[in-house]
Amino acid sequence: MQALRNIWFLALATCTEGIRHRALWAIVCLAALLTMANLGVTNLYSWDLGKVSVEFGLSAVAFTGLLLVFFLGMKILADDLERSRIFLVLSRPVSIGQYLVGKYLGLGMILLLATIILGLSATLSMRYVLWKYPAYVPPDFSWLVYVMALTCQWLSLMVVLAASVLCFSFASQPFIALLLAVSVYMVGQNMELLRRVVLENPQAGALSGQENLVIALSWIFPNLSFFDKKYAAAYGLAFSGQEFLLLCLYAISYSALLLFFSAILFKRKELA
């Protein structure tokens, strides 16, 4: 019970610390302005204005989220180590696992807050565009699918955050952890593409004969393209509740696994 309390208190402290960070608000304000710029960008197009508006809004959320994960999130983790702030916590009866999970959840709460703010900002601009140009609203456009797509965006960022925590737990320098985390993100975004290329075309160039390796990699790296529902939201395509729940389960289980390994690796770190 105390373990859960520790995780919650750490998450709350991390969230409070992050929310009061000026960098967070600079990023969020910039992104909010960007989503309002949606109105101007949409006017550059003559068709499918609804899709342009929806996709622009969701992309702004995705981009901002990545900035928060890589620059704010990893900075908070790195500062803990480099400035010996971690001793403040680990001199208490708090395990490494509780520390990492608490930090992760705190940063996740910050990401959730940013997603909600940016999602609302994007929604306002989208609402205006869709109202002004009703002829260009996709026939099956659904606000529910949009909210589900937004949620999937947040889940994707949580997976990337978990991967960042893992990289942080074994990398010798914060910059190396950042590079590794960015690499994991890029591989994750293209994992499905790679998997399909190899499975559908066994003679695929340099990858011929490497199907098993690619399949193994597709299980190790996160398949982030599953969470990319911008297309579905933009065109009002079907996005079933079952798929949504499976995505939630995948995100939670994969992130939990990464945090589990993070704790094991972090215990081996010398906190000199």
Binding site: A13, S84, R85, L88, V89, S91, R92, P93, E270
Partner: protein
């Protein structure tokens, strides 16, 4: 029979590997009784902070054992019984002093009521009452040091470990810390602190340990250390020089 507050036995610690391997501690053994004020002194880089970090399980020893209040470090939970002040206390800059102590108290398993009672008392004791709701990022070095003290004591631990508690403080600040340590001693707490400021050691400690290049050169009563009639500084410097000559030979 009461066990020692801190018991270190044959502690070895190295950093790096191969040609770059550096031996930080060599067969370090010392014992600190409950209620004692133990001063751990040595030149810069002697191994004082390393010893403390091993005690707190921030580092893993190559060999040897560490016990705190009868609990084996790294195997049993003991951190609720110790308070720690690091050499350079860093805090979450955007949390206030109150929020920092609240977090520490909660992580130590205290209930909200107890924490709410202790926070104003500790901050007043540290002359930080007017800064209770200010963010730590705006604190001076001395204020952070005092907040660190309050942080170490929030859960009323039996053993307090201070790593260079007077470092970087002005004379007023150092006086306040010295007074606090004396008060803690009267409360029956065990105090283990490292320093290279000999006058502070002389004023506060019952027993001392002298470490140089990872080797414990002396552990015992302050009086016996000074028995040869020289001042603490002279005795200390002579001991270090003898150790250097012995290792050169």
């Amino acid at each position: 029979m009461t066990h020692p507050a801190i018991q270190i036995t044959n502690l070895d610690k190295s950093f790096g590997a191969g040609f770059k391997k550096y031996r930080a501690l060599t067969e370090l053994s010392l014992s600190i009784d409950q209620g004692e004020v133990f001063g751990f002194l040595g030149p810069n880089g002697a191994g004082k902070s390393t010893t403390i970090k091993l005690l707190l399980n921030f580092l893993k020893p190559d060999s040897g054992s560490l016990m705190v209040m009868g609990h084996a470090v790294g195997q049993e939970e003991f951190r609720q019984r110790i308070g720690y002040l690091s050499e350079f206390p860093f805090f979450y800059e955007h949390l206030t002093a109150r929020e920092t102590l609240l977090l520490s108290g909660r992580l130590s398993g205290m209930d909200r009521r107890s924490i709410d009672q202790r926070i104003p008392m500790l901050l007043a004791r540290m002359n930080l009452a007017e800064a209770t709701d200010r963010r730590v990022g705006g604190f001076s070095k001395g204020m952070k040091q005092r907040l660190g003290m309050a942080n170490a004591l929030i859960h009323d631990p039996e053993v307090v470990i201070f790593d260079e508690p007077m470092s970087g403080l002005d004379p007023v600040g150092r006086h306040q810390i010295k007074r606090l340590i004396a008060e803690l001693k009267q409360e029956g707490k065990t105090i283990f602190f490292s320093s290279h400021i000999l006058s502070d050691i002389e004023a506060l400690c019952d027993r001392i340990g002298v470490i140089h290049k990872g080797v414990l050169l002396y552990s015992g009563g302050l009086g016996e250390f000074l028995a040869e009639g020289n001042g603490l500084e002279d005795r200390f410097v002579k001991l270090i020089e003898e150790a250097d000559h012995a290792s050169a030979a």
